[in-house]
Each structure stands twice: as structure tokens, then as C-alpha cells.
Symmetry: C2
Subunit: 618 residues, 2 copies
């Protein structure tokens, strides 16, 4: 039964129903129903991803945003942007498959790196006698006495939540237990002879990668990834910060979904590894400054407007329970320090994992994502230098007409031959869209073939190009050979989006090199981290000028270095001290206020002429 | 609108309505409605206090328990015990005033004692500049930098909840603040030039006394008391532990009401003192072992059955927030250690406040309550010795036919003259019942006048006595001069209840003296603490044998010594160390297993013949 002033929204074909107040928009309704409706802009009507079809019911009139993304024919047939539709009656909505958030190919692996274990958590075997009328020590007293006599540990702190676990656990296992000790505190109890397990997390803007490791040996017990469910609040960090800034309820809501995601991930990993969730005695979570603030529930207002100041950036150890994470009752979450701006603990972890702080060579680390962080080290420089580029989510398929994440059916590689385009899709499925590596490939190929000029204009009269509704476009796959029944194309607007993204990164890199007096050719090692960076065709990236043209051997595509760093930080207090040093010794260049940034950014959007000439010569 | 399978219960004359599932009992319904319906037994049908009148609606048939407390006439008129009535339709209920929990005369004062302040909380004045594009330090970073340069304090820990408070507070006060520091941690921020305030609590089984003190000077800013709202779950600790043991929901419920009570109390006191609740930077709460477990949410199962083992008894510092207490966001609650059995931190606080641990004289401290704790110290003994007597709530008016707490209209003093009884009521109001000190007076007078023999039998044919429905009884006040329209009487059963209570205390005291080789007359000081102990007519207490006959000058009625101890512990880390020593150096005698306890208990129920003879001689 629907509450008064509420309407029932029925989402098909998933068959989920939800009651919402009159006037709600359909994107909010879909969030409430737990439907992963794609939304890059977070409901601002600017990305055109949350397309749905109204099957029946009364809704608000189409608006400009609808007309921007939908043809009149589509609008007449009931197509609309969910975020722009307000409901005035019960409504039945069809959600096309293309509007759903798809599972992405997640990069959870990374640098194979020997991890040092420096006991953060100690497991103590406890054996004691049950209470009798002659021995009335408290439950906790008899256990701490046993630990003291076996291990010499005294005055251990214990939280009520852990004592709550002790009394029944001790009786179940007849006073034969394992105690997990963190510093001078007991954080949990388990059955006898159990080992302490840790949970390392790379909390990305788009995806979350998690690892369970044995805290005594460092061995990986399970690994896996999920999408960051905050995506439905906007794909870029600013949209999410703005959402959180709406008020305490919104902040709690957007925090809640990521905690739910983390709880789901750790539950899955524990099942894989055959352990109890209460045996996870510590966690370490790295993320950029925005993810860090949204995770810890820190104020975001001041972070979402200039001068973009963090509420706090030092390392913090916080109870898992306080965050809503269900691990051992007293477990802590270690959140390593952020550097500055949006350069967060994930970049600290990446620097640590790739030894950029050793300063034994000229090296640059680039972690390409919705925000791209870059760090540079150089022998003789006391400090690392870092910068953060607002590259946007174009490399993850957003803002691209047929863009999508790296899921089945995504075009991931493109060549242009005399016979036209040759494409390769993920899983060799019929093409449904194009993912980041495919876009870079396509643009490099279009430019190399002379179909795209150095300034980024598609050459309308060139072979293979055609006029679309919004200017020239280049079809990569034609219906009916596609999985969607629509052509998959590269539009002029797509090229411009990629120019913005690559221009931001290229300008950032150049400024970083310049400000440290480093010519590009002096870079001994160029480390490209992150999921997109791992699947990227390096040659195409050099061709479009995204990365500087250096000998191939100087490049290393290292995968999820931040995840590896998170594991290292989980396992070792020494590495935590090192992270603290990295954070305090890494200077941060605010690019937007760097002299001449705007001009350099504008120039960086061009494609390098050399590349085209090289191909023309060939 | 009532939910399906739910009925609406309308409580009059208060006019509160509540929906409850079909078959619920009315005591539960009243609790849900927030009505303080009296219940001594916690809903077992044995105290007869939760009397209500069914005005309309379908309810279950009267049962034996109803017949035990109500006449057939009353039953016919709809009178019933709320805890025995199950609802089968919407029901309208009248709640007589006499069935409501009344406000008690609360003893919050205590020993006037100079309190030492050893800075547990430090207040730091913070003055810093706002962030600019040239100074991008995090909010927290700039504040900790300012504290470091002004006070030399480094590496202060800060919880996310405190950072959450910082960002808006700093901007409101233009980066001019007060930081409250606990050890090496910032626990809260306030406006400039504010002082840190502490909240000391004596959490009794029946009442809660609270004090706000200035943590820098020790000055008391406000004091007040409320009833412990757990009373509606049973007046004795075992009933409450049993209720909490029903399952996690019940445990959370009974814990929730006391937290709500504490939040209400601190809010009232803060208003009195003109301070913000977020300026309360630390709290200290003392209570017996059961109150301690129910407050901290510790397991109670093992504490409610022999051998009555505590889950934990050491001192613990726990976040106020973790308990649900709304103080400064990072504030801690210090919960001092328990001794053993039900002898808890309140007794430690009492020992500390009365310097019983100094061992410079033979002294006994007795804290009379629902549980009575006794401690003995003696020069030459390395340890204090303590015992806990299950004296029950009879001295607080429970289990006494016309018993009530020390509220307006309670008979608090009784004399018997040739003309019959002379009574004094609290507030000189018409008598509505009799409170603890009145009962002791009445029984001493009856015994002294020969109306009650040494074994505790009312002498049926004696003048002034009459036969009631359940044996001989002595009327103290007759309708229509009473406030209830019913006579106020002392029954044979009342005498027996007092015999049980005073016998338990007397036997405990005797065993404590005997086991330490101390003749009663060797006691230099007899300290009587607690609310009942303060209002008690000492002569009557000696007459009935509740306390040993010592020269009057050796007695000290000290009021709420536990509350004074709680304040001392709030204000000084040295006193906390002393409390730890008291707890670990106080041995605990389990009376129920002491040789010959049962026989001595039986004998202690008698009244001393000497007293009667003294009066007869006079």
C-alpha cells in the first residue's frame, strides 16, 4: 500500500518497486530501489547516461537537458533522463541495459613485491580455568592473567565490545582461545589456534580493490574488487563532495553506501578464504583526499571549493566499528596520510610500493584515474614533488557518446587500415561501446591516418567519416553487428573530451618536470599505475602526447600499485613511518595557480604533429 | 492508524497512546508509552504495584496474582495488575496516581571534602590564520601546529568525530578556539576562553546523582538527581540482569533507558550551569557491578547465576559516544574498577571519599541500599575486607504493603505513645505511605512498646493492633485523614520483610567483624553512607539491631559518599591510581558460602531483647 503523497515506481525489467514522495526524480527513486542506474554527473542533467523509458504514469514535461541527449522521436516514445523526470503518479519505467552500471574489469593485481611483516597484530594463545566459587576472578581478569603469565604482557586495554565477545566465546571454547593484540590492547578473541587476518583496501573513485592477508606471514588469502557504489552520486569527486555537503543526512547516505560496499567485499573475501569476519583484526584503507573524507565522515564543504583545504590529512587509526565496518569488535582501520589537494593516501601507497621515495634515480609515477596523480623523484632533491590533474572520467568511458567501462563488449583496441577500422572487443563480444584504451587507440589511429588534425578537428571530407547529428563522426562498428542495435562511433565531441583529459595530464607532467628542472629525456623510469594505465596501449598514448616519448624500456605499467602499498602498510609499522615521511616530504604543486598553466593546458590539448608525420612517412 | 495485529492502548489521565502487538501486557505498553508505572518486581506479578483500571476494551481474565492484591470488588470494577493483563482489542486504561513512580527525595550532597585537581583535561587556547591559496595546511594541521608552538604538545591524536566538530567551529569563531586535551588526544573544541567541564555520576540501582564540576578548579557547577529509569524493569539488580539476559534486544533496551536518563540529567545540569554539552570533556561514573555491566553493555548471563562472576572488573576508559552519551565528541568516560561480587566502583568511591583505605583506625563503612556494601579497615591489616548483603529494596519502600520512596506524603518518623501512633510525613502532607526511615522507626517503636516480640511477631491482642485480611496489623494513619482514602498500616508481612533486610545487613556486618578478629566495640568509626542511611533515625536503627550499639559519637552519617568519590576520581589521576589500589587490595567475602552464614542470618532477624527491656524499664 502506498503512503499518502507517495507514488509507487515500478522499474522493469528488473521488477523492483519502491514508494517515493510525490515529485521525486527517477534517479533518486532508482537509488532507493538499489538499481545501479548509470550517472556520471550525479544527477545534474549533464551526462545523459541515466536514460530510461516511461511506460505509463504521469511525469513532468521534457526539459532542455532531455533534448540535448535525446531525439524528438525518442522523446515522443517516452525516452527521458531519469534525473530530470519528476513523478506525479504511480509510474512504470523501463531501464535499458545500457543505462545500468556494468561490472568493470577490475585490476586488483599489482607489482610483485616482497612484503615485510612487522607484527602489527600479535596472536596469543590463551588457556585458563573456568570460574568456580573459589576463583571468582572476572572473565577478563582470568584471561589477562593467562596472557601475562604466558607472554609477559601486562595492563592490556580492552573495550567493552571486545569483553562482550569474550564471555560467550570463552564458554563455547572452554576457556581455550586466541586473543588478537594490537599494541597494548586486545582487539578481538577467536577460537583456539586461529591466525590474525588483515584487510587492505584501495578505495578508488570508481572501483574498490580489497585483499585479505595473513598478518603473521603476509600471505595473500583472497583478493577481489567491486565498483565503488558512490558512483551513482557522480563519477567525479567534486559531485560527491557537493552531494555530501547538502547536509548531515546526505553525508551519512553517501558514506553509508561505501561502507556497505566494503562490508560486502570483506564478507565475500572471508568466505573465499574460509575465515570468520571477526578474525579480521586490522584494516588499512587508502584513497584520494575526497574518498578519505567521505570514508571518515570528515567535513567536505571546505574541500569542494577553492582553496580546496582538507579537514585533516595526517594518518589516523580509527575503530572499524566507528566507521560501521564489521570486523573483529575492537579492530582498527589504519588510514595513511594524504599529501595535499586531492593527492591522497592512495598516492602515498603508490609511491611507497614503487620505491619512488628512495630517490636513487629520476623517476615519475603517474596514477591515471578520474583524478590523475603524478609524483617525481630525483637524486639530490630532498623532497618528492606531486601534482593532481583533474583529468576527469573520460578515460573510464564517461562523457564519451558510446563510452563505457572496461566490461564485456567494450572496444579495447582499434586500428585503421585502408579497409576501414579493425576493432577488438573485451571477451570478443559484439561491440556495445568503447572503453578507455580503445578510445586512446582510436584517436591515435585517426590522427595517424590523417582523419583528425593536430588541433583535434575531425576532417569532414576524409574517407570513413560521416556527418552525424552533432557534426562529423567516425563509425567503429555498425548495426546490426553491434550488441545494442546502434552504431558505435567516435564523435567530434568525444575527441574534445579526450583532448581535455590528456591535456590536463600532459600539462601536469610538463609542469612537474619543468618546476624541478628535469628535461623529459632525463627521466630514467616512467611508472604508469592504475587499471586504465595497465590496459593502455603505450604506443597510442605516446602518439597522442598523453605520455612523453621516451624509450619503451623506461616505461613500467605496474597495475594497482596503490593496492600493493596498502598491503605493505597493513603489514608493517615501519612502512607506516615511511608513509608518514613520504606525506610530509612530498611537496604539492597546485597546478591551477601555477604561472602559465592555462596556456600550457590549452596547448597540451593539441596532438603532436611528429607522430602524424612519422606515420605519413612510413 | 493501527498496524495489523496491533492494538491502540490509551493511557488516561496522561493521555498517551501507543500501538502494541496483540497479546502484549499493559506494563510493557506503559514502558513503550514512556509512562513511569511503578513495578518493584519487574513484571513478575509479585509486588502488586502496577495497579491500573481497565476503562474499556477486551483484555485477558483476572489471574491469581490479581486476586492476591485486589479485592473482588476492585476486580469487578476493572482494577487489575498491568503486568498480568494481556490486550485483545484497543484498550483504554486509567492509571491511578499511586501507581506512578514518584520523584524521590534524592540525596546528592555528601562529605564536604577538599578535592585535589590533577589536570586530567587541559584546555589550550588556539589562535591561527584561515587557509589561503598560499597556506593549504589542513584544518586540523593548522590547529595542531598552533598548539605545538604555544604549548609544545606534538603528535596529538584526534578522532574523526572531533575533526567533524573542528571545521565548522573554527570558521564560526574565525580560527580562535579552545581545544580540550585528554592525555595525548584532542577530545573536543569550543568557543574561545571556555573551560573544560566534567560530569561525575553515582549510578545507583534506584537513583542517579550527577554533578558538573570545573575540571581546572574542582568547583561544583551544578548538582541534581533523577530516578534510575531501569526501575520499571525490576527494583533489584538480579531482575534487571535477568531481563538483560533475555537477548540482545532486551539488553540494548535496558541499557538504552539508563543512557537516556544520563543524557537527560547532564542536559539539565548543563542548562543550570549555562554551558554547552560539548564542553563536557570527561565523565566518571561509579556504580555497583550490575549497574556497571548494564551501563557498559557487558554480558550479564554469568553475573546473574552462581558463582556471580563479572565479565570484567578493571577500570575502563570508554568513549562517551560509544555508550551513547552526548558530551564533547571525543570525551571519555572513566569507569573505576569493581571489587568483587556486586561490590562495585561505587563502593570503591565511598571507601576513597571516607579515607577508609588509610588504615589509621578501625573503621567500617556501610552503604545501605538495595544491595548493601560493607567495608572494614583496621591498622595492621594490609587489605580492606568487604562484603555485599542482598538486603533488598524494603528500606526503599518495596515489598512493604504501604511502602513508598521518600517522597511527599511518606511517613518518615513514627513514635508510639499511650494515645497511639504519632507520625511525621515528608512535606507534612496527608500520609500516603511509609518510607524507609519511617518503617525502621515504626518497627523500633512497636518493639519498644511491646507490641512486637523479639522474634518479630505482632502481638494480636495488644492495644492498637487489629486483625487485617492477612493477619495482625498496626494502623499508623486512618482514612479519611490519609491522602489515598485507605489506611496506612504496618502488617506482619512488612515486619518480616524488614527482618530479612536488617538480618542480611546485621549478619554481614557481624561476619566481617568476626572474620577480621574485630569485636564490635573496637570499631572507632562507623560510617553510614547512602540516602537511606542519611535520613535514618540512628537510635531506631540501633534499637532493631540493624547497626551495632556503639557510642553515638562513633557514628557518621555521611550522605552520598560514592558521589563525592566519583567527583574526586573525575578530577585526579592520582585518585584513580588510589582507586585501582583499593580495588585490588580489598578482599571480598562471599557471605552465602561463609561457614554458618544461614544460621547467623536466621538469628540476626530477631530484634534485640535488650532494647525492649531498656524501654520497659524507662
Amino acid at each position: 500500500m502506498t503512503r499518502p503523497d507517495h507514488f509507487e515506481i515500478d522499474f522493469e525489467p528488473v521488477g523492483k518497486r519502491v514508494d517515493v514522495p510525490a515529485g521525486s526524480d527517477l534517479l533518486d527513486a532508482a537509488r532507493q530501489a538499489g538499481i545501479g542506474l548509470a550517472s556520471v554527473c550525479g544527477g545534474e542533467g549533464t551526462c545523459g547516461r541515466c536514460r530510461v523509458v516511461i511506460m505509463n504514469g504521469k511525469v513532468s514535461e521534457p526539459v532542455d537537458a532531455d533534448r540535448r541527449f535525446l531525439s524528438q522521436l525518442e522523446i515522443n516514445a517516452g525516452h527521458r533522463l531519469a534525473c530530470r523526470v519528476h513523478v506525479h503518479s504511480d509510474v512504470k519505467v523501463h531501464v535499458p541495459k545500457a543505462s545500468l552500471v556494468t561490472d568493470q574489469r577490475l585490476q586488483v593485481g599489482g607489482l610483485a613485491r616482497a612484503l615485510t611483516v612487522e607484527n602489527t597484530i600479535k596472536a596469543c594463545a590463551v588457556e585458563t580455568d573456568p570460574p568456580t566459587l573459589r576463583d571468582l576472578r572476572s572473565d577478563l581478569g582470568r584471561v589477562t592473567d593467562a596472557i601475562e603469565s604466558a607472554y609477559g604482557l601486562r595492563h592490556l586495554a580492552v573495550e567493552p565490545s571486545v569483553i562482550r565477545q569474550l564471555s560467550p566465546t570463552a564458554r563455547t571454547h572452554n576457556w581455550n582461545l586466541t586473543a588478537f593484540i594490537h599494541g597494548r590492547e586486545i582487539v578481538g578473541f577467536a577460537a583456539p589456534a586461529r591466525r590474525p587476518v588483515g584487510f587492505a583496501v584501495d578505495l578508488g573513485t570508481t572501483k574498490i580493490a580489497g585483499f585479505l592477508v595473513d598478518l603473521e606471514t603476509g600471505a595473500e588469502l583472497a583478493a577481489g574488487g567491486v565498483m565503488n557504489p558512490q558512483i551513482s552520486y557522480g563519477e567525479d569527486v567534486i559531485s560527491r563532495l557537493v552531494y555530501a555537503g547538502r547536509g548531515p543526512a546526505a553525508a551519512a547516505e553517501i558514506r553509508g553506501v561505501v561502507i556497505e560496499g566494503l562490508n560486502g567485499l570483506v564478507a565475500t573475501l572471508c568466505e573465499q578464504a574460509g575465515i570468520e569476519r571477526t578474525e579480521v583484526a586490522e584494516a588499512c584503507i587508502v584513497g584520494n583526499t575526497a574518498m578519505h573524507h567521505l570514508l571518515l565522515g570528515l567535513p567536505t564543504q571546505q574541500l569542494s571549493v577553492a582553496p580546496f583545504v582538507a579537514a585533516a590529512s595526517d594518518a589516523v587509526d580509527v575503530r572499524a566499528r566507528d566507521l560501521g565496518l564489521e570486523l573483529a569488535p575492537g579492530a582498527y582501520v589504519h588510514v595513511p596520510p594524504c599529501i595535499g589537494g586531492f593527492v591522497g593516501a592512495d598516492h602515498v601507497a603508490m609511491i611507497l610500493a614503487s620505491d619512488l621515495d628512495k630517490g636513487d634515480r629520476v623517476a615519475v609515477g603517474v596514477d591515471i584515474g578520474t583524478n590523475t596523480e603524478i609524483a617525481l623523484c630525483k637524486p639530490g632533491l630532498a623532497y618528492l614533488t606531486s601534482a593532481s590533474c583533474a583529468s576527469g572520467p573520460a578515460f573510464e568511458g564517461a562523457h564519451i557518446r558510446d563510452g563505457m567501462r572496461a566490461a564485456s563488449g567494450a572496444i579495447e583496441a582499434v586500428r585503421i587500415t585502408a579497409d576501414g577500422p579493425q576493432i577488438k572487443t573485451i571477451g570478443d563480444a559484439p561491440a556495445v561501446g568503447i572503453c578507455g584504451s580503445g578510445i586512446v587507440d582510436a584517436i591515435a589511429a585517426l590522427h595517424g591516418a590523417g582523419l583528425l588534425n593536430d588541433r583535434g578537428r575531425l576532417q569532414k571530407d576524409a574517407p570513413g567519416l560521416r556527418m552525424g547529428t552533432q557534426g562529423p563522426e567516425y563509425p567503429l562498428a555498425l548495426a546490426p553487428n553491434t550488441g545494442t542495435g546502434r552504431d558505435v562511433v567516435i564523435t567530434q565531441s568525444d575527441v574534445n573530451e579526450i583532448q581535455l583529459a590528456k591535456g590536463a595530464i600532459q600539462a601536469g607532467l610538463e609542469i612537474l618536470l619543468e618546476s624541478t628542472g628535469t628535461p623529459a629525456e632525463a627521466v630514467d623510469e616512467m611508472i604508469v599505475a592504475g587499471a586504465f594505465g595497465s590496459f593502455l596501449n603505450l604506443e597510442s598514448a605516446l602518439d597522442i602526447g598523453l605520455l612523453p616519448r621516451l624509450p619503451r624500456a623506461r616505461y613500467a605499467q605496474v597495475g594497482n600499485a596503490a593496492g600493493v602499498g596498502a598491503k605493505a602498510l597493513l603489514l608493517s609499522l615501519k612502512e607506516r613511518t615511511r608513509a608518514q615521511k613520504i606525506a610530509s616530504r612530498t611537496s604539492y604543486i597546485e597546478l591551477t595557480t601555477y604561472p602559465g598553466f592555462q596556456k600550457r593546458f590549452a596547448l597540451s590539448m593539441w596532438f603532436p604533429a611528429a607522430h602524424r608525420r612519422v606515420r605519413e612517412d612510413a
